[in-house]
């Protein structure tokens, strides 16, 4: 039997971020899903996907927040908690840094995607997620 490429284990970690973003998971949990030490995992993930696991997790959470802002009437605070973040202030700051607007401004600027096109959710999730290259992997802040 052939073994999958090492990247398949990294995909398992990325899947964890995609599945459990609403829970208080962090990079250590992602490393455990890949079966690697945190430091080795962070390097391998960054090499494979071009962004750090902390950045991926944060931007996945923010992408999910954009969907909630477009498709629900949840308050910004509710949206923040729904995507696994606990600080509304940090959420708003990160959101504005990456999307260039506050969550409230974002909601007002975009009509619900479903009103103008039928696009499979996986493609919406892929393209609505933005890059974040400023996060520091080894700082405690990356856990959030």
């Amino acid at each position: 039997m052939a073994y999958p490429e090492p990247e398949r284990h990294l995909l398992r970690a990325r899947d964890l971020a995609d599945t459990r973003y609403a829970a208080p998971i962090d990079v250590t949990d992602m490393a455990a899903a890949a079966g690697l030490s945190r430091a080795h995992f962070t390097r391998s993930f960054t090499d494979a996907f071009g962004e750090s696991p902390g950045a991926y997790l944060l931007t996945r959470r923010l992408e999910r927040a954009t969907a909630l802002l477009r498709n629900t009437d949840y308050s910004v605070t509710q949206v923040c908690f729904e995507v696994g973040l606990s600080s509304v202030g940090s959420f708003t700051t990160s959101f504005k840094r990456i999307y260039g607007q506050t969550p409230t401004q974002y909601r007002a600027a975009y009509p619900p995607a479903a009103t103008w096109a039928i696009v499979p959710s996986c493609l919406v999730q892929e393209h609505a997620r933005r890059q974040n290259r400023t996060i520091r992997e080894d700082s405690p802040a990356s856990a959030g």
Binding site: M1, A2, P4, E5, R8, W116, A117, P120, S121, C122
Partner: protein, 149 residues
């Protein structure tokens, strides 16, 4: 009239893939033939029982000189990272299918989630190929509608 009969995805191990797509996903083997005259090339295809005219070929990335070493390595990594290809499947009872697939050991990266067009979910095969499973609302079920925005 031109219709779709087969598509193809790369897998890292055809025995593992065959087991996944038949035992776990519930599809049937359409063809499984190896050819000594082709250097042992194995042509493995599977498909959903309800759609006998559509097959998916599960092929391994060929070694040099068919694919240069560098191309093969790059492609293997892309497959493992979930970047190579996706299959979009539909269900008429996604909750039941989700429960059945989960009971057979399939790990979903997105459990059934409501979207404007229906309920959608996703998982990866053992090689890393993305598989989406959706129950689309009837009003969105026809793809015979060109959409351009």
């Amino acid at each position: 009239m031109i219709s779709l009969s087969m598509t193809q995805i790369w897998v890292h191990d055809q025995d593992v893939a065959k087991d996944f797509y038949t035992t776990k996903l519930g599809w049937e083997v359409r063809q499984d033939s190896s050819f000594a005259e082709l250097g042992g090339f194995r042509f493995l295809t599977v498909g959903p029982p309800a759609q006998p005219n559509i097959s998916v070929a599960l092929l391994v990335i060929p070694p040099p000189p068919i694919f240069p070493e560098e191309d093969g390595a790059a492609l293997k990594a892309l497959v493992a990272k979930g970047r190579a290809s996706s299959l979009f499947l539909s269900s008429d009872d996604i909750q039941a299918d989700f429960e059945a697939l989960k009971a057979r050991g399939i790990e979903f990266y997105e459990e059934p989630t409501e979207y404007p067009y229906g309920t959608d979910s996703g998982f990866h095969d053992p090689s890393g190929n993305a598989i989406r499973l959706a129950q689309v609302k009837p009003e969105f079920s026809s793809s015979r509608q060109a959409i351009s925005v």
